[in-house]
Structure formats: C-alpha cells, structure tokens
C-alpha cells in the first residue's frame, strides 16, 4: 500500500501493473502506478492536445 499524493489516503494495489491508471478511492484523483514493488503512485499524466484514439 501507499499514499495518494493528493489527499494522503491509503491506496492499495490489486494486481495492478506498471503504468496502470486508477482513481484514488478517497479523492478521485486519477493516479498512475509508478512501481509495483514497492507500490508507488503519482498523479496521472495530463491529457495533451494530440491525445486521443
């Protein structure tokens, strides 16, 4: 487990993989998995203008 960098809530990995996006269960901030062992997260990258499908 680790802490949300925005609200410091405890967030847990549920078989997450590097780079996976998920919302913080407390504050809803979109987070990105930065490491799995140890489990680390950071705010997800901001959407750029050329992002899309």
């Amino acid at each position: 487990m680790t802490q949300c960098p925005e609200c410091e809530a405890i967030v847990e990995s549920h078989d997450m993989v590097m780079g996976e996006l998920f919302p913080c269960p407390d504050c809803g901030t979109e987070l990105e998995v930065l490491g799995t062992d140890p489990f680390l997260v950071q705010p997800a990258p901001k959407e750029a203008e050329d992002w899309g499908e």
Binding site: G19, D50, E53
Partner: protein, 283 residues
C-alpha cells in the same frame, strides 16, 4: 503455449484496454516488451533484441507517428503501420482519402483561415460542426448554430497558439437518432459493433455516452471494411452515423479504445488484436 512471436507494446498509460492486451498475450504465452512512450529513445542503428511486431497503443498522435516510423526503420512491423497512423489520425487527410475511395462521408469543407472558414460555414449551412484536424474524445469540437456563434468560436480558435487550430475542418451537422455506431475492425473482419447513445450531440464514450451491442449487418460491415481498407487496414474503429440518406463515416480511429465495446458486446477484442499482431509478425 506461445504463438511463436515476440510482441512489443508501445504505450503511454495502462488503461483496461492495455491491461487486457497484456493479459491476452500472457495467456497465449507470448513474450511482451513494453515501450513507454515517455521513456523510450530511438537511435539510428538497429538495436538488438527487438520484438517481431509492435502494437501501438500510445494515446499521443505525434508520438505514434514518429515511433512507428522508427520501428519501421528497424525493420519491425507495427500495428498500425506508420502511414495508417498518420492518415487515420488526421481528420483532414483521412476524410480526403475516404472521399477519394468513394466511402460516404458527411459534406465537409476544409478552410485554412478564419475568413475562409466563415464562407465555408455559410455554404454548408447552420448548424455545422467544427472539428480540430487532430485529437479525439470529443475535445474542441464545436457545434456552430449561427453566424454569431461562428464569429465567437472562430475568434477563440484563432487565439489558440498551435497553428493547427487555424486549419478548420467544417462538416454538416447530420440529423441523426440519439446514437452513432462504432464498428471495430481487425484485419479483414468487423469483429464487434456497438451503438453509442447520448442526448448530447457528441456520442463519445469518453463523454459518458452509454452503449449497447449492434448487429453487424452486411451494409454496416461493407462500409466499415471499406473505410478501414481506405486507411490501409489494421486495427481500426470506424465511427458511423445514420443519416437520412444512409450510413456515413464520421472518422476512423487508429488506436481505438474498446473498454465500452467489450462491456457492451462481450467480444474478446484484446484477444483478436493480439492474434492479428501474430499474423502481421509472420507476414
């Protein structure tokens, strides 16, 4: 059991789609190399230990263009091919190609200045839709209801820093049911389709549209495959609208999302993509 090829996945972030692709490869015993689009560098010499094929899942159109070109330089095929990425990722270029191939699209004009855009809007009539040439998820799309609205929108567009905002893609607003249709094409097959419902005029899943499975009728299959082939083929999502005059292609997405489609249809889209990558690797 490995399908006998090594898969590279070039990506920005891991959404459910990428997670399913990685899981589908693992289930088939296919070794995967991940290339993070914010970390990778490309030298001019061919590096060792390259995969047999690279699946592009980057959400950045710009990074996708250059990365697929670099992999091509290394002799590694990509899904999709660099020319398909460039073409389908640009609404102007892709619409020109669709028109050239006789694939029905809504009436469209391209203008290169605000003044020319005003004239194009007058010709097309109101309401019309103004789209940026690059980008998706319904971002920066504008439904232009009147000349007054056009003045404001064009003024705002002109103030944006990127020169690409001075390219105006103007399309007739197609009166349609509160839904559009997405057909997912993998190689020569339309593998799944869904209706996207919204009371808003934009029906992107990213904007909260709901989805339901759609039957792939011969008519839907034919237009979707023609649109995909016009782009050069590969893994493509063809967005269609039901106009009073029949189906029209709105756009063809070169790195399509399929979370909503999978939920709506139950289709194993990720598995089909991985298997198609194997076909490309063996070509």
């Amino acid at each position: 059991m490995s399908d006998g090829f090594r898969l590279g996945v070039f990506l920005t972030i891991v959404r459910p789609e990428e997670k399913w692709i990685l899981a589908a490869a693992e289930a088939r015993g296919i070794p995967v190399t991940r290339f993070d689009d914010s970390e990778v560098t490309f030298g001019l010499d061919v590096p060792p230990d390259l995969p047999d094929v690279v699946l592009n899942r980057s959400v950045s159109h710009t990074r996708s263009i250059y990365a697929t070109r670099c992999f091509a330089r290394y002799g590694v095929p990509t899904v999709n091919r660099p020319d398909v990425v460039e073409l389908a990722g640009d609404k102007v270029l892709s619409t020109l190609r669709l028109a050239e191939r006789g694939v029905p699209v809504p009436r469209t004009e391209i203008a290169l200045s605000p003044e020319a855009a005003r004239r194009a809007l007058e010709r097309i009539g109101y309401p019309a839709v103004l789209k940026p040439p690059v980008g998706s998820w319904g971002r920066l799309l504008a439904k232009v209801d009147s000349p007054e609205a056009a003045e404001q929108i064009l003024e705002h567009k002109a103030a944006l820093p990127s020169p690409v905002h001075s390219v105006f893609y103007i399309q007739e607003f197609v009166p349609k049911p509160d839904r559009d249709l997405r057909v997912f094409v993998v190689g020569a097959h339309a593998v799944a389709a869904m209706y996207r419902h919204s009371t808003e005029w934009r029906t992107n899943a990213a904007r909260g549209a709901s989805a339901s499975p759609a039957e792939i009728t011969p008519e839907i299959e034919e237009i979707a495959l023609r649109a995909a082939q016009a782009m050069g083929g590969g893994v493509l999502a063809v967005d269609l609208v039901e106009s009073p005059d029949g189906l029209r292609v709105l756009e063809v997405n070169p790195t399509p999302e399929f979370k909503t489609l999978t939920a709506a249809t139950g289709a194993d889209v990720a598995g089909r993509i991985v298997e198609y990558c194997g076909e490309v690797a063996r070509e």
